[in-house]
C-alpha cells in the first residue's frame, strides 16, 4: 500500500511501571532528545554501544532499529524481552520497529524519567524528521542531531546516483558531523571524504574526525552543565564546568556576563548564534528583575524564565558555551551578548 504500513502493535507495556501507591509525579524538566543519523556502516551502532556502556550514572533511553546488532555484553543486560532490553546500569534500549511514536510514548510513561533519550535514525531516513518529535512533545527538548559518515566509504557512496541525495539530505540539519573510521580510510579516501563534506555540509557545520565513533557521552545535555541528580541547591542554579572540558577535541568558554538582558533581543541573538557553537547554556538576569534560562543545542534555541519557585542564582549570571577545539567564536559571542543588554 502507500508509504505507511498497516501494522498491529503489541499491547502497551510500561518499562518501569510506577508502584500503585505512588502519588502523581512532580513536574519534571524536559528530557534532552538526541538523534543519531548516518548511512549503513557509518558507525551509529558503535556510538550507541559506547554511550550505553559509558553512561556514568545517567539513565539513557536508547531507541534503535535492531538491538540484536548492538551486541551488548550479557553481564550488562539486566532483563530482556519483547521490544526492550533493560541494562544493569539503569539504561534501557528499545526497538523502534516501525512505530517510533508508540515507542516514545512508552518511554515517556516510564518513572522516574530518563536523563536523556537517544534515537537511532535508520540508514536512509532523515534524522531531522525524527528531531521533530523533540520539537513536538512538551516532555522533550531537542539536544542535537549527530550524523556519522564513513570516512572510507562516503565518497564512493555519494558517487552512486541512487544514493547521492540520501547521503546529503541528513547534513542540512546536523549540528555535529562525525567523519568516522578515519583509521580505516586510505589517505585518498579521507581526502575525498573531506572534499565531499566541504561541498555538501552547511556552512559553518562542526565536523569532528573520529575513530570508533568515540564521541563522549558527556556531550549529551543531561549532565553537561549540572551535577547528576541534583535539584537546584538552596543558593539557586549554578552551571557546572562542562563535562567535556578535559577532552582536547572540545573547547569551552565560561563567563559571568554583567548587566541585565532584554528577552526579545536575546531570543533573536540565540536564533542567529555565530557558527561553531555546539552547546550553550546561560542564566541571565532579565530587565524585570527575574531570571532567564537560555539554551542552545541541536542548532536550536530556547529562552524561558526560570521556573516559578526556583531560588535566584546566588552565583549570579553565568554562561557556558562549547564548541569543537579552535572553533569557539568567543569574540562574536561576547559582542552579541553585549548587544542584548537592556
Amino acid at each position: 500500500m502507500g508509504h505507511r504500513a498497516v501494522r498491529p502493535r503489541a499491547p502497551r507495556r510500561h518499562l518501569n511501571p510506577p508502584p500503585e501507591a505512588t502519588p502523581a509525579p512532580p513536574p519534571v524538566d524536559r528530557i534532552p532528545f538526541t538523534v543519531i543519523g548516518g548511512f549503513l556502516g557509518a558507525g551509529k551502532t558503535t556510538l550507541l554501544r559506547h554511550w550505553l556502556t559509558h553512561a556514568a550514572g545517567r539513565r539513557l533511553a536508547v531507541l534503535v532499529n535492531d538491538f540484536g546488532e548492538l551486541n551488548l555484553d550479557a553481564e550488562l543486560i539486566a532483563q530482556a524481552g519483547g521490544d526492550a532490553v533493560a541494562l544493569s546500569n539503569g539504561c534501557v534500549c528499545c526497538s523502534i520497529g516501525d512505530d517510533l511514536s508508540g515507542a516514545l510514548i512508552r518511554l515517556l510513561d516510564a518513572w522516574p524519567p530518563f536523563d536523556a533519550v537517544v534515537v537511532e535514525a535508520s540508514g536512509v531516513s532523515d534524522p531531522w524528521r525524527i528531531a521533530q518529535y523533540a520539537l513536538a512533545d512538551p516532555r522533550l527538548r531537542l539536544d542535537g542531531v549527530v550524523v556519522l559518515l564513513d570516512a572510507a566509504a562516503v565518497a564512493a557512496q555519494a558517487a552512486d546516483p541512487l544514493l547521492a541525495d540520501t547521503l546529503a539530505r541528513p547534513l542540512a540539519h546536523a549540528d555535529l558531523l562525525l567523519l568516522n573510521k578515519t583509521d580505516l580510510a586510505s589517505p585518498a579516501e579521507l581526502a575525498a571524504a573531506r572534499a565531499w563534506l566541504a561541498a555538501h555540509a552547511p556552512a559553518g557545520a562542526s565536523v569532528l574526525e573520529t575513530v570508533q565513533a568515540d564521541l563522549p557521552p558527556a556531550l549529551l545535555g543531561a549532565t553537561l552543565y549540572q551535577p547528576k541528580g541534583a535539584g537546584w541547591a538552596a543558593d539557586g542554579p549554578r552551571l557546572a564546568p562542562p563535562a567535556v572540558a578535559h577532552d582536547r577535541r572540545f573547547e569551552a568558554w565560561a563567563t559571568a556576563p554583567a548587566g541585565r538582558y532584554d528577552a526579545a533581543r536575546l531570543r533573536a541573538w540565540l536564533r542567529a548564534l555565530p557558527a561553531g557553537v555546539l552547546r550553550l547554556k546561560a542564566l541571565l538576569p532579565a530587565a524585570d528583575g527575574g531570571w532567564l534560562e537560555a539554551h542552545w543545542a541541536g542548532r536550536h534555541a530556547s529562552l524561558k524564565p526560570l521556573p516559578a519557585g526556583t531560588p535566584p542564582p546566588e552565583a549570579g549570571a553565568q554562561l557556558v558555551a562549547i564548541a569543537l577545539a579552535g572553533r569557539l567564536p568567543r569574540a562574536a559571542l561576547a559582542a552579541g551578548l553585549r548587544a542584548c543588554h537592556t
Binding site: 500500500m1 502507500g2 508509504h3 505507511r4 504500513a5 498497516v6 501494522r7 498491529p8 502493535r9 503489541a10 499491547p11 548511512f39 549503513l40 532499529n65 535492531d66 540484536g68 546488532e69 526497538s95 523502534i96 520497529g97 516501525d98 512505530d99 517510533l100 511514536s101 508508540g102 516514545l104 510514548i105 535508520s122 540508514g123 536512509v124 531516513s125 532523515d126 524528521r129 525524527i130 521533530q132 518529535y133 520539537l135 513536538a136 512533545d137 512538551p138 541512487l162 544514493l163 541525495d165 540520501t166
Partner: protein, 551 residues
C-alpha cells in the same frame, strides 16, 4: 462416505485454455472432481445435483494479490472519502465532494455519539478539492466544538483536527514542528503532517485508523467484503506476524465459515528483525499452514508513493515538483540493505514481494535481484514487484528474463490518473502508468490489484481499470496499454495465483484444484467493457463451501 456435489450453472468460465467453458462442476472434499457437462460429472458415481447457481455464472474465485486486512477494519470509523464506498454490511457511503458535505456528515455522526469520546474519521483526500484545504474553521462547526475530532487522510501521512483536539494535544502558535500547518497569523489551522506532528494527537486519542491493531470484528468485515467482491484468496501484504497478530489471524481463519483464504506477508523492512531471524520465523510458521491461512510470503519495501512525492523516480523526475522542493523521493530501505536482506529470504526459500512505486525503485530492485539470482539461482522463485507503476518495456523485459512477476496497481488509473497526468509525472509517463500491455508483451506474469484499503477491494473494478484506462475527468490514459477483458480476468485469477505460488491449486476451474468460485450474475466477457465493474456478485465458494454475499 464422501459426498459429491454437482453444481449446474448458466455457464462456467474456467480460465483453463484447454476447456474454456462448461455447464457443470463436480465438487468432492472441497476440490474440483470434474468439469464439463452433467454426464462427465455423474461418471464419478453417486452425486447430488445442486441448482443454486442455475442462473449464475461461475468463474474461478478471484485472487487479490495485494490488499490489506484493514479493508475490513476501517469501518468502526466513519468514512470521509471522495468516492462512494461500500462498507462490510453493504451500506454505500456516498463520496464527500465538498467541505460542507464533510461537515454535515460529521455533525450527523457527532450528534449520535456519547459525550467525551473523540470522533475519528478516515479516507479524506484533499487532492480532489482543487487546492481548498480543510481547517479548524470547518471542523469547529461540528457539534458544540468540545469534542475532539480527528480526520485521517487517505495517504496515512496527514490528519486534520479541530480546535478541541489542538488544545488537548497542546498545539499552539508556539509549536515549532514543521508539519503543523498555519493560518496567516501563525496559529495552527488543524492540518498536521508527518509522524511527529501526528504523534501529539495520537498520544491523546490513541491509535486510530491505519495504526489501530486488527481485531476479530475487522477480520469478519474483511471476509464480508471479500465475499461480496468474489474474492476467495487474498493477501495481507504486510504483517508483523507477532503473537497478537497471529492469534487474530488464526482465530478468524480457524472458523469453518470464514469465507476467504489469507496469505499474510511478513514485514521485512524497518529493521524490526534481522533478516535471518525473520526468515526463520516465517519458515517456522509455514509448518502450521492450513487451507485458509498460508505463510511464506515476505514483504519488502524500497520507496514511498508517487502522489506523496516519496516514490523514487528516474529522470526526468517529478513533473510539477514536490511541494517540499525535494528533487526525488525517499528510500524506505537502502538498496544495498534490500539486496542483502532479499538474499537471506531468497536463500531460505521464501517468496518476496517488493513494494516499488517509482521507476528508479523498480530498476534498483531488478538490479539487486539480478545479482542475487546470479549468486543463488532458484528456479520458480515467484518473486514479484508490487505496484511497479512506472515500469517501461525494457524493464519488463529484464523482469521476464529473471522470472520476476509484476502485480500492477491499476486502480491508480482511476483514482489518481488525472493527478499523475497533471501533477506528479506528466502526460508522457502517465500514459504508460501501470503498463499492463507492455508487461504481457514482454512476457511478464501479470497480476493487478487494489491495495485495499487504499482503494476498495474489488477485482472486477481493478480489471475494469486495466481494460478501460479511463480517469474521472474522462481522459483515456494510454489506449495502447489496455488489456482485453479475457486478459484482465486472467490477471485477477491465474495471474495473481501465480505470484503467490498457488496456480497449481487455485485460479482456474479444473480437476484437482480447490473448489473456489466467484458466483456472478452475468458473464463478464459478454457485458460492455465499461460495465465490467458492475457485474453483480452473488457470493463465493471457498473449498466447496458456499458463501452468499450479505445484501
Amino acid at each position: 462416505m464422501t459426498q459429491t456435489t454437482v453444481y449446474v450453472a448458466k455457464r462456467i468460465v474456467t480460465m483453463n485454455p484447454a476447456q474454456p467453458e462448461a455447464t457443470h462442476v463436480a465438487v468432492r472434499d472441497g476440490r474440483i472432481l470434474a468439469v464439463g457437462d452433467l454426464a462427465r460429472c455423474a461418471a464419478w458415481g453417486t452425486c447430488t445435483l445442486d441448482e443454486t447457481f442455475a442462473d449464475q455464472v461461475l468463474l474461478p474465485g478471484f485472487v487479490e494479490g495485494h490488499c490489506h486486512l484493514k479493508e475490513g477494519g476501517m469501518w468502526v470509523w466513519p468514512y470521509l472519502g471522495w468516492f462512494d464506498r461500500r462498507d462490510p454490511d453493504g451500506k454505500v457511503w456516498p463520496g464527500v465532494r465538498s467541505m460542507d458535505a464533510a461537515v454535515a456528515r460529521l455533525a450527523e455522526i457527532e450528534a449520535a455519539m456519547p459525550p467525551g469520546q473523540p470522533l475519528v474519521a478516515w479516507g479524506f483526500d484533499p487532492i480532489y478539492f482543487g487546492g481548498e484545504r480543510m481547517t479548524t474553521r470547518h471542523l469547529d462547526r461540528v457539534g458544540d466544538g468540545s469534542r475532539p475530532i480527528v480526520i485521517g487522510h487517505a495517504n496515512g501521512h496527514v490528519m486534520n483536527v479541530n480546535s478541541a483536539t489542538l488544545r488537548l494535544a497542546g498545539i499552539t502558535a508556539d509549536c515549532e514542528v514543521e508539519g503543523v500547518a498555519r493560518y496567516a497569523d501563525g496559529t495552527p489551522n488543524g492540518e498536521l503532517a508527518e509522524p511527529a506532528a501526528m504523534h501529539l494527537v495520537l498520544r491523546q486519542v490513541g491509535n486510530a485508523g491505519l495504526l489501530a491493531p486488527m481485531d476479530e470484528a475487522g477480520m469478519r468485515g474483511f471476509g464480508r467484503i471479500a465475499c461480496r467482491s468474489g474474492v476467495t484468496t487474498a493477501t495481507d501484504l504486510v504483517n508483523r506476524l507477532t503473537e497478537p497478530d497471529l492469534a487474530v489471524l488464526r482465530q478468524a481463519t480457524g472458523a469453518d465459515d470464514y469465507p476467504v483464504r489469507l496469505l499474510p506477508a511478513f514485514q521485512a523492512f524497518h529493521g524490526t528483525h534481522g533478516a535471518a531471524a525473520g526468515a526463520e520465523h516465517v519458515r517456522a510458521l509455514q509448518a502450521g499452514n492450513t487451507d485458509r491461512l498460508r505463510f511464506g510470503l515476505v514483504k519488502m519495501m524500497l520507496d514511498g508513493s508517487i502522489q506523496g512525492f516519496s516514490a523514487r523516480l528516474r529522470w526526468p523526475g517529478y513533473f510539477n515538483g514536490a511541494p517540499n522542493g525535494a528533487k526525488n523521493g525517499i528510500w524506505v530501505t537502502a538498496p544495498a540493505q534490500y539486496e542483502a536482506d532479499f538474499e537471506t529470504y531468497h536463500r531460505a526459500g521464501l517468496t518476496i514481494h517488493t513494494h516499488t512505486n517509482g521507476d528508479e525503485a523498480s530498476e534498483a530492485a531488478v538490479d539487486a535481484i539480478a545479482r542475487v539470482l546470479a549468486r543463488a539461482p532458484r528456479p520458480g522463485h515467484r518473486h514479484t514487484l508490487q505496484h511497479g507503476q512506472m515500469i517501461d518495456r525494457p524493464l519488463f523485459g529484464r523482469m521476464a528474463a529473471l522470472g520476476l512477476a509484476a502485480n500492477l496497481f491499476t486502480n491508480h488509473l482511476w483514482y489518481w490518473g488525472d493527478q499523475h497526468h497533471d501533477v506528479t509525472m506528466g502526460p508522457d509517463r502517465a500514459h504508460r502508468l501501470d503498463a499492463c500491455r507492455s508487461a504481457l508483451d514482454e512476457g511478464v506474469r501479470l497480476a493487478i490489484h487494489s491495495d485495499a484499503p487504499v482503494t476498495p477491494l474489488g477485482p472486477l473494478f481493478t480489471a475494469w481499470c486495466a481494460v478501460n484506462r479511463v480517469t474521472p475527468s474522462g481522459r483515456l490514459l494510454g489506449a495502447a496499454e489496455r488489456l482485453t477483458v479475457a486478459e484482465a480476468l486472467r490477471a485477477i485469477t491465474l495471474g495473481a495465483a501465480w505470484t503467490l505460488g498457488l496456480d497449481h491449486e487455485i485460479g482456474s476451474i479444473e480437476c484437482g484444484k480447490r473448489a473456489d468460485f466467484a458466483v456472478l450474475g452475468a458473464d463478464p466477457r459478454e457485458v460492455a467493457p465499461m460495465a465490467l465493474k458492475d457485474v453483480p456478485v452473488w457470493g463465493t465458494v471457498l473449498s466447496g463451501r458456499v458463501h452468499r454475499a450479505a445484501t
